[in-house]
Structures are given as C-alpha cells and as structure tokens.
Symmetry: C2
Subunit: 224 residues, 2 copies
Amino acid sequence: MKFCLNTIKSRSKYAEVAAAKCHLPAGHTGKCCEYPFLEHLLKVDKRVADKIKRDATMTTGAAWKSEDAGPNRINRWVMLLNDSELLKYGIDMSQLKTGVIAKLREKAADYDSCILVAAKLTWLVYQMENAPVPPSNIKEYLEELFGKMIPNSTVCVICRQPIDYQLFSIAERGKAAIETCHKNPRMHNSDNVGFGHRECNIAQGNKTLDEFYSWIKEIIAKID
Amino acid sequence: MKFCLNTIKSRSKYAEVAAAKCHLPAGHTGKCCEYPFLEHLLKVDKRVADKIKRDATMTTGAAWKSEDAGPNRINRWVMLLNDSELLKYGIDMSQLKTGVIAKLREKAADYDSCILVAAKLTWLVYQMENAPVPPSNIKEYLEELFGKMIPNSTVCVICRQPIDYQLFSIAERGKAAIETCHKNPRMHNSDNVGFGHRECNIAQGNKTLDEFYSWIKEIIAKID
C-alpha cells in the first residue's frame, strides 16, 4: 500500500525527530490520519487501541524507581538519537547505569517500523477469539498490508495457544494478561511482533524464541 | 538426629510465637547454637550464609511499593498466626489486598521446617561446583540429616544443570543469579526446596515443577 504520508501537526516535543505522518492510502479523500486502522478500535475499546499505540511506539517505562532508572516511556525513535542529541532533550545517558542504557537502546525503532507494528498488532487483535468485527474498510486496509484475516486464528507467539480478546480486560496488579511480544527480543518490526500470554512472555525472558525452544527442549531431555 | 532444642535467648519480638532453639545434637558440650551447620559458611562467606538463613526463615519482602503492600520480610512462622493474633503485632491483614494476603500466607511455615530448610540448603551449597569444603563436623552433621554429600552434584531444581557456587557473587540490579526454589511453590519444607537459576525460577513462575514440565512439553508438541 502506498501511504499518503502528509505531515500531521503534532504537539510532541520529539516531532522534529520524526514527524507524524498520514497513513491513509495515497490519494485518499477527507482529513489525513496517522492511525486510520485504529479508528474503529478507538471507538469500541479505547483501552486496547491505546495499548497497541503505546506498545508499538513507546519504550517501556522504568520498572524500578531510582534516580538513574532513566526516562519514563518515550518514543522508540528518540532512542535512535546519539547521546549528545539526546542531551538536547534533557536525557543524559551518561547518568544511567549500563543495564538501563542497554534496555532503552534495545527498544529503539524508527517511526515507520513502529507504525507498521501498530498495524500488525491491530490485524492480530481482530483475529482473536471474541474480538470485535472490523468495519470492511479497515479489514481491507489491514489485509492489503498483512494478508487475509482468519477469525480466531491469533495464537500466543510463545505457547501457540489461542489468545482470547477478553484477556485484554484481565489485569493483575496493573499487569495485563496479554503482552506484546517479540520473537527476537531485540527487533521491533511488524514481522517480529505478536501477542503473548504474560506468563509465557515472562518465561521467554531475554531469550529469542528459538533460544527459548532450545532451552525447554534441553530441560525435557534432562528430565525424561 | 536428636537436637538439643534448648531455648536460645532472642531479641526478636516474635520469640513468643516460636522461640529460637539449639540445633546441636542432644547432649552436646559447649554453648547452644541455633544454626550450628552454618558456622563455617558464616566465617568463609557470610553473604551466602545470610542468604540461606533469610530464604529459609523469612517471607519475601514487598516487591511493590504501596500502603497496602504488606509488611516487609517477616518470619515465616508469624504468617501462621490468624488475623486477630497478627493485629497484636501491628499487622492488619484486613488492610491488605487479596493478592498480597495470598502471597504472604503461602510463605507461612513452622519454625522447625524452616530450620530444616536452612540445613538442606547448606547441604546443597557444599555440593556445588567450586563450593568451599565443609569441616568434617559439619559434613557429618549434614550427612546424618540428608545423606552422603557428593561434590559437584547440586543442580538447578528446574533445568537440572549444575549450579556453580560462584554464581552467588553475581547479581544484576540487586537480584541474585541463584535463587531458592520450591518444587511445589506453596510448600516450604526440606524435601521441597533447592537452588535454581534466577531465569529458571522466573520461567517456572507460579507453576509447580510438574505443571511447568507439562507446560513446556505441550509447547514442544505444538511447535514440532
């Protein structure tokens, strides 16, 4: 699909790093829109639409509280800037611990990849059990990007069991039961993302999916 | 082994819940001692001895900060008291969230079980690769409780790979690389405890070991 890609006005202080762009098809009529594929979910289940946008475009927040924990959620593309460029935005990487820097840097992704990740996640959501049914214009849009949508076909990236849309409503101590997962934890692009059960994602940890599967195969070999 | 079991004076405000007792063999000479099996480790590697004592006898601390997060580390046997008995110690369970109460209550264990857990962990430590060599009196003491010690035989409860004693010195963001594990997460006794790699323990999560193994077998079946 060829996107319109007109620049959309944004209040973000990082707009000069990556301007928001219109992702309606080139030559569209009507107003430009950055996330046209999310318009329906925004209406019927804003929480899920917001989660998709957040997971697709933002780094994770600092899960531990301390002065050197680093900035809270920040656009992933900001983390592509080098240390001296980041200083202009008040982010002093030299004050952070090595582990924190690594964690922030590994979330880095360019704007275009993030948008496609958001679209991919939306495509997957609509294929979950008990998901809302997308209007035909959004269905066609997403299918042009990622292929035919098959109802009830979205499975956990890790355990490959179906994921029920209703799990989005389940959260324990503020932690959602469904998490956005990366097959290879260090790459944020539409081929590499999917949804997973929180416990599966935790079990995978820092391993790539292949490393995780090799690891559990070794365990099975040991115990049998 | 028959323990001396003389009461040892303690400054703990919970001494009336469970008095500290001597665990030297009955009829021993010299001063009474609560953890005679830890005397050598206390001298050569206090950090590891303290960890064993802490993991064996204390609940975990509140990992999340909030008013209803519950008390910080507390003796496991205190968590055997009922709500009104706990109130006398200033612990108001009715103020805590259900999940926090469940977490605290599942750590409950009686004093005698905790001492045997500490002894079992000590027995396992001395059988790790690169572990210090125990003096013969402690070796005999532990072997009488848990059987012959075989150098380099201690493996991770979960992945069954050897655990190197030197991993005790490795910690990331205050998290030790070796954790005390429970085969069945809800039972704290010497048969049920062991050491595991932190990442293995995290992967096991709330599952029992058997549930974990069944779960990873299902995953392997799905991906093959």
